[in-house]
């Protein structure tokens, strides 16, 4: 269960504070995959990160007893001068995986990422594709109740993409996803609950279809709507 209680978040802009959402209350029951949609800059990623405990709201709380992952495929935490293996071992360490089970996870990451001997080379020598593969391999090798996915469900070439999709389909049996995406098929396929972040704040729907409908309805509209409102 993930509960949002009185969540308010705003951003500083040159023209004053822009409120993304205000006093949001919601309860997401266990076993629901959540899709977040909205236009660029609406605060989708911010909401995702707040739910994941990485960012913080201005006021309010996120209450959960679930184990929530870091944003999937994130490579920002890598230390360039350390090897892929050392970086992976560090991530294992902060998640309490040491010794024998760490070695198993590392083997799994190496096998999944398909970067071969580069696994023992410094991360700064990686191409961006290899970096993402390593990050993605790490994400799926540590078990969580909820995985955070920001935009990318898959990275790399066609072969690797296929592999990622398979793994995610497998994961969905035992874990849930919170997904931010602009691709409607992805959301339709993977999500149960929809959150729409619009100009009027945050709306939660029991099915992702409703959220998608509202989002798509909003696409050509904003200019006309504002004119209409002024009259």
């Amino acid at each position: 269960m993930i509960e949002l209680r009185n969540l308010t978040k705003s951003f500083k802009t040159p023209a004053g504070r822009k409120v993304l959402f205000r006093n949001v209350n919601a309860v997401f029951p266990e076993g629901k995959n959540i899709g977040i949609l909205g236009r660029n800059g609406a605060g989708k990623s911010t909401l995702l990160r707040i739910m994941g405990g990485i960012d913080y709201p201005d006021s309010g709380r996120v209450i959960t007893d679930q184990r929530i992952s870091w944003p999937m495929g994130l490579s920002g935490g890598f230390q360039g001068s350390m090897t892929g293996r050392e970086n992976a071992a560090f991530i294992c360490g902060i998640h309490g995986i040491w010794g024998g089970s760490k070695r198993k996870v590392l083997d799994r990451v190496q096998e999944f990422a398909e970067i071969g001997d580069y696994f023992d080379a410094p991360v700064k020598s990686y191409s961006s594709g290899m970096r993402s593969r390593l990050a993605f391999g790490l994400s799926i090798s540590v078990d969580f109740d909820y995985y955070l996915v920001d935009e990318v469900m898959s990275v790399g070439d066609a072969h690797f993409k296929h592999k990622c999709e398979q793994v995610i389909a497998e994961k969905r049996k035992s874990a849930n996803f919170i997904i931010v995406a602009h691709s409607m098929p992805t959301l339709k396929k993977n999500c149960d609950v929809g959150i729409y972040l619009g100009p009027s704040g945050l709306q939660i729907f029991d099915t992702v279809q409703e959220a998608i409908a509202l989002y798509q309805q909003g696409i050509p509209k904003p200019a006309q709507a504002s004119v209409g409102a002024q009259k």
């Binding site: 350390m82 360490g93 309490g96 540590v142 969580f144």
Partner: protein, 263 residues
């Protein structure tokens, strides 16, 4: 599949600090030629250079204590303090990427760095004393227990300073520019390489406010039987260290969300 086991907060803290320590060691020394030897070489070069200059000038700073040892007792603690100060200022910015993992907080980054600096400081102090002793530069040792006590307090003091600077350095990035300007004068008024007894008596009252001066004098007192600091005052050091630690923790606790939060 390897489940993340449910851990209690202490276990999480322990795992995070352990992983971070390994990471810091690898990034700090892994990339250099000679690797971990730099743990020792860095302070050694600093101390030896200053000791060489002052020995060359042919002065003895304190009767009965060789110049190199006298210097070591002042410079080693000061380097530890100055590293904690500087690392604290940069702790958040240089670790931004790490805060994408929810169990990692600026506090962990600061604590790890102070712990590592502390270990390096103690190790290099002992190693350099041993090396100097091997070359025949020795003085009669005084009080081991006192050294332990002083260093525990000094650790608290530096952790407090580092936490405070972590908040200050993130809220006011300009602070990074002023940091050396604060540390450098401290170098001169903390009795690092000369004894402050030469300063006119009337200023002693002001100088004795500086906890670093107490640390350095007490360290020398603990190390050398023939040293007696005029300022050294253990109760004052204890109070100021605990106050500094409490202050650092309070400042951090009241501000930590702002350090991580997107604005």
């Amino acid at each position: 599949m390897h489940p993340v086991v449910q851990r209690n907060p202490w276990q999480i803290q322990r795992d995070v600090i352990r992983a971070l320590l390994i990471r810091e060691m690898k990034t700090r020394f892994g990339k250099w030629r000679l690797g971990y030897a730099w743990v020792l070489l860095e302070p050694a070069m600093h101390i030896m250079l200053l000791a060489a200059i002052f020995s060359f000038m042919g002065r003895e700073f304190y009767p009965g204590i060789p110049t190199a040892l006298f210097m070591l007792g002042g410079i080693a603690p000061f380097i530890f303090f100055s590293n904690c100060f500087g690392k604290g200022v940069a702790a958040v910015e240089s670790n931004r990427g790490l805060f994408n993992y929810r169990q990692l907080r600026p506090f962990d980054a600061v604590l790890t760095r102070v712990l590592l600096e502390f270990a390096i400081y103690l190790f290099s102090l002992v190693a350099l004393l041993a090396i100097l002793a091997w070359f025949g530069v020795t003085a009669r040792f005084n009080d081991f227990l006192m050294l332990i006590g002083i260093n525990l307090l000094f650790f608290c003091f530096c952790l407090g300073v580092s936490l405070t600077m972590c908040v200050v350095g993130t809220k006011f990035p300009e602070a990074a520019k002023f940091a050396p300007m604060i540390v450098r004068p401290l170098y001169f008024i903390s009795g690092v390489f000369f004894s402050l007894e030469q300063v006119p008596e009337e200023y002693h009252g002001y100088l004795s406010w500086n906890p670093l001066l107490h640390v350095i004098e007490l360290t020398r007192e603990g190390l050398f039987a023939s040293y007696h600091g005029v300022f050294a005052d253990l109760p004052y050091l204890a109070t100021s260290s605990l106050v500094m630690l409490a202050f650092g923790l309070l400042v951090y606790r009241s501000q930590w969300r702002d350090l991580v939060r997107s604005q």
